[in-house]
């Protein structure tokens, strides 16, 4: 093959590669772009399918005004905004609370499972780990109704505490999976040295192992927050007014809005914005969490 032909081939290969990457980037980003721009559209812009702000339509604060979040309404009282902020707060409390709970008890369990030998009847460490991980299979529908009844009896229905408990249960297997991988990568000699110096198990865990395992904990925490923030099934069944989360609010608006696309778009934008920011700035923790234990 001549050098020129080789170069042509190489350049065309490169071009294809970039074309594919750009195409998928477009597919990934277009719905987000569409939602953000639609929140600034008026009815005419929606029906005529205008796409590019300032070029084929003049942005308008309509969608954000209907949420009470546009510059001219931000000072005034707005029931929609209050409702939105309450849902937002519920989402934050439920997802952060559940993630903290899951990371704390999950890390402790993962540490115990990776360092000590447990015996529980015929069960050994391997079986206990498998039992924790097997909770992943459990579909939410199986637990939903019993939880509804249980929570009613315990007066936990429509409370944030109730949501936190369910979500913590949901992400616990994932946290244990990530943390086991993390603890396995920390050399055991450090703890042994500490034990020789007279530290108790708890001291050597909190002073030596926990700081080293912090990146794993952060990864587990962030992945948990993302999963809890997006959870819809339990929230839809177990909350009604007080503890309703953002996805439930978004879902309850989709049917009633008709062609009011701008307000739905504004609501969706606000609901996905925190996660988009996490995706941009904390991407390496997400990847770290997702890939824990997958590659041996």
């Amino acid at each position: 093959m001549s050098a020129a032909a080789w170069r042509v081939k190489r350049i065309s290969g490169r071009t294809l590669l970039y074309a594919a990457a750009l195409l998928w980037a477009f597919i990934s980003l277009f719905p987000i772009y569409w939602t953000v721009t639609t929140s600034f559209k008026t009815a005419v812009d929606v029906t005529q399918g205008h796409l590019i702000p300032f070029v084929d339509f003049q942005p308008d604060w309509r969608g954000w005004r209907s949420l009470g979040l546009s510059p001219d309404t931000i000072g005034a009282t707005s029931t929609v905004r209050e409702e939105f902020l309450r849902r937002f707060e519920n989402s934050i409390v439920a997802s952060v609370g559940a993630s903290v709970l899951a990371v704390v008890i999950g890390s402790l369990a993962a540490y115990g499972l990776s360092r000590f030998r447990y015996r529980f009847g015929p069960w050994r460490n391997k079986d206990i780990s498998f039992w924790f991980l097997s909770q992943l299979i459990l579909p939410p529908v199986v637990l939903a109704m019993p939880f509804l009844v249980l929570y009613k009896e315990l007066a936990l229905l429509d409370t944030r505490v109730g949501l936190i408990l369910v979500y913590a249960l949901m992400v616990l297997p994932i946290v244990i999976w990530i943390m086991r991988d993390q603890f396995a990568s920390i050399p055991i000699e450090l703890e042994e040295a500490a034990r020789v110096d007279g530290a108790t198990v708890w001291q050597s865990f909190f002073r030596i192992v926990a700081p080293l395992a912090l990146p794993g904990m952060v990864a587990a925490f962030i992945l948990s927050v993302v999963l809890c923030w997006n959870e819809y099934f339990f929230a839809a069944l177990l909350t009604s007014s007080d503890a309703k989360t953002l996805p439930v609010m978004v879902a309850s608006q989709t049917g009633s809005q008709g062609i009011n696309w701008w307000s739905m778009a504004a609501l969706s934008t606000a609901a996905i914005a925190p996660l988009a920011l996490i995706g941009i700035f904390l991407e390496r923790y997400i990847i770290r969490g997702l890939t824990a234990g997958a590659v041996k």
Partner: protein, 376 residues
């Protein structure tokens, strides 16, 4: 109270911390046993009181079952303290595992057992009769329910769609692993759909971009010659649309796992193949793909497990329509609860589905592990 039997020693093999033997005064041991015993008695007494109260035999007037919850928490704390008192060092070690075990047991075992009971009742929230055991009626109704079987049939298609997601994800992972500029940018962008809430995606994509009149996807479809771009009107098109949306959200998950696998590949083998004149296509099928099999299997199985829970998008975009063509088992049961308040029957459907899932996933894992062993 078999939790007390959890026995903590040192792990054999490379990961082990040698147990430090310490003498525990017999008095402390006895006190610990008393503590656990008393706490158990207290829990049992509280349970008895609450049951009697709700049965109307004694009138204490509990508003709800929260006292029992508090008693359970107190019992859990006493159990932990007792472990340390009785077994010292080993008890401390058991304390690491106890919170997670107690939490999961109480959150899973009780609902599962209670769910089994509900599943055999004719409980409907909108009827005043209350719940009554109705034997196998729910199972018989399930057997004759075409919508349930239809939803199960749909799940087969949704699970098969995971393979398509896998193929696309593999392509993207290769792309991100290639020598391209702005790799970090593309990685962040490709991961983005995974971060978004499926409910928001239902609106963003399903209800607006794919909207029949003004959605850009419909406009584009008209432009390339599809006169009547109704994405959710005919069964197969609707199913494919749901699959596309689901794929959009979940392909990044598989992609990230595969990318990690690709980055961990030994580069010298690929280098050697290239020097020996292997075409990229050959070296992919002969080297990269076989080496990636373990990661691929992990990714696909995890994805299938998540796919079996698919509900949010279907509930919010099509509500199972048209004619149940896009229904997943979860979304079908959700409507059974929400619209028909049919708690007993819906729970039976869920329990049967759970049994089917367990059988399916266990068979899949066995099959795959046997297949992997034969390959290596």
């Amino acid at each position: 109270m078999s939790e007390a039997e959890i026995d903590a020693g040192a792990l054999a093999g490379d990961h082990s911390i040698k147990p430090v033997s310490s003498r525990i005064p017999p008095g402390r041991k006895v006190a610990g046993k008393w503590l656990i015993g008393l706490a158990t008695l207290g829990l049992a007494a509280m349970l008895l009181l609450q049951v009697l109260d709700s049965a109307g035999i004694v009138a204490i007037g509990f508003e709800n079952w929260r006292p029992l919850l508090c008693a359970y928490l107190a019992w859990a704390v006493a159990l932990g303290v007792g472990q340390v008192m009785i077994r010292g060092e080993a008890g401390h070690r058991a304390l690491f595992l106890l919170p997670a075990v107690l939490f999961t047991v109480s959150m899973v075992i009780f609902p599962t057992v209670f769910g089994l009971y509900i599943a055999f009742t004719d409980w409907n929230l909108s009827s005043f009769a209350g719940r009554q055991l109705n034997g196998l009626d729910n199972l018989r109704a399930l057997w004759a329910d075409p919508y349930y079987w239809n939803a199960l049939g749909n799940m087969v298609w949704y699970v098969l769609a995971v393979l398509v997601q896998y193929a696309i994800a593999f392509g993207l992972a290769l792309l991100l692993n290639a020598e391209i500029r702005a790799r970090k940018f593309f990685r962040v962008v490709f991961l983005m759909p995974f971060m978004l809430s499926p409910v928001a995606v239902s609106w963003m994509v399903g209800k607006s971009i794919m909207e029949y009149r003004f959605g850009p996807a419909a406009t584009f479809a008209r432009f390339i010659g599809w006169d009547n771009p109704a994405f959710f009107a005919s069964p197969w098109v609707a199913r494919l649309s749901i699959m596309a949306m689901d794929g959009w959200v979940s392909i990044p998950f598989i992609m990230i796992l595969l990318l990690a696998g690709l980055q961990a590949l030994p580069t010298d083998i690929l280098e050697a193949a290239r020097i020996d004149g292997a075409k990229p296509w050959q070296s992919f099928w002969k080297i990269t793909f076989p080496l990636m099999l373990p990661v691929s299997v992990t990714a696909v199985i995890l994805r299938i497990i998540f796919e079996l829970k698919l509900a949010d998008i279907v509930i919010n975009v099509t509500a199972g329509g048209p004619g149940g063509a896009t229904d997943t088992v979860s979304s079908f049961i959700y409507r059974e609860y929400r619209d028909r308040s049919n708690v007993g029957y819906g729970t039976m459907l869920a329990q049967v589905y759970f049994v089917l899932i367990v059988i399916f996933v266990t068979a899949l894992l066995n099959l795959v592990s046997r297949w992997m062993r034969r390959l290596t």
